[in-house]
Symmetry: C2
Subunit: 211 residues, 2 copies
């Protein structure tokens, strides 16, 4: 419904947590939520919450706050979770299979249409009803179907080749789960998600505390 | 060997990518790498690379740059990847099982000792040789073993209860994969990793481009 504008990344990082909190309240049958309550949950200032939410066009009522049901639907729309986008996933290893099995992704508007790999033992198998094809089939399948998102879960050293293949065949947004940095033309969107990066941060905090 | 100091988070986010790149060069048999080459790969300024690496104590040689082998070992030490830490994982669903199966984590210094769940069908099963126990056993097992890291991969609404249990029984660092924000005493380290957050950012970039 509502098209999201170019919102600062820190705001986009906080919003799924707002949504998750208000969805929990919704399950508990609550009707209204104040910015102060969201702020307490997030451990940030309530003016930050109000400011962040102003990007969505959502407005609260005096004294009672935001209406829970409309909060959830507006944020889902705003974050792109209510619109379904199709994706191809390349690399059906353990992380790749976890993403294929993850019901969360579908709930957040991402439908993985097909997976690709080079391992002959995996070709033709299905994970959560999603078939694994040989990587060579990506060309024709991408041309046939209107898939714009590509997910890369291959070993780091193959990330660039997979990215090149995706871009050549019409993928316009790449979700890169490898620690490798990929080079793409400027009109292609790249989002890097590396869990090991987070592990490095966790270790650093933990070790510093020990001293 | 080298104890990491309190390094800014943006630096810690870049370092695993530096390491991944230089490990790739190491596999290819290269002996030296310059800060300019790393900078080109990362698409950042080479002074940023030099500045980031100064935190590690690593020094390059004039004209040839950093020695590849020592680069890899110094960064692995610095990021805490060469020291092995034990962890408990709570929530053996699809994401939890992916982490249990992930050989990457072990390579980065995290050994998951045991998994916990409430689903009777999962209790007693093994994933990648790691046994799944009933959550009630976490108390005694955490007390017996010296486990300081807890990984939370349960549904968001249970995250806080799991965090409380972990903190009560001696966990000092929590890696939270749920979109929920957890509250912990100030001496506990928390690292939030939510892949849906990244999905929101990807959607936002993609939709804006379409206009």
């Amino acid at each position: 419904m509502q098209k999201s504008k170019n919102v600062p990344v820190p705001v986009l990082r906080r919003m799924p947590a707002y949504l998750s909190f208000v969805q929990m309240l919704q399950k508990q049958g609550e009707k209204y939520v104040s910015s102060t309550r969201i702020a307490d949950y997030m451990e940030i200032d309530s003016t930050q919450v109000t400011k962040d939410l102003s990007h969505t066009g959502l407005t609260g009522k005096t004294r009672v706050g935001y209406e829970v049901d409309s909060f959830v639907s507006v944020l889902e729309d705003f974050l792109g979770f209510s619109r379904v986008d199709s994706a191809f996933l390349v690399g059906a290893g353990s992380l790749g299979c976890a993403l294929l099995q993850d019901k969360g992704l579908a709930a957040f508007g991402l439908r993985i249409e097909a997976a690709f790999d080079v391992d002959k033992a995996k070709i033709g198998t299905k994970v959560n009803d999603i078939e694994v094809f040989h990587i060579d089939q990506l060309r024709t399948m991408a041309a046939e179907r209107n898939v714009v998102i590509g997910i890369i879960t291959v070993p780091a050293e193959h990330a660039q080749n997979v990215a090149d293949l995706m871009v050549a065949w019409g993928i316009r947004a790449i979700w890169n789960f490898t620690p490798a940095r990929i080079k793409v033309p400027s009109h292609i969107v790249v989002q890097n998600t590396t869990i090991y990066m987070n592990l490095a941060i966790l270790f650093n905090k933990l070790y510093n505390q020990e001293k």
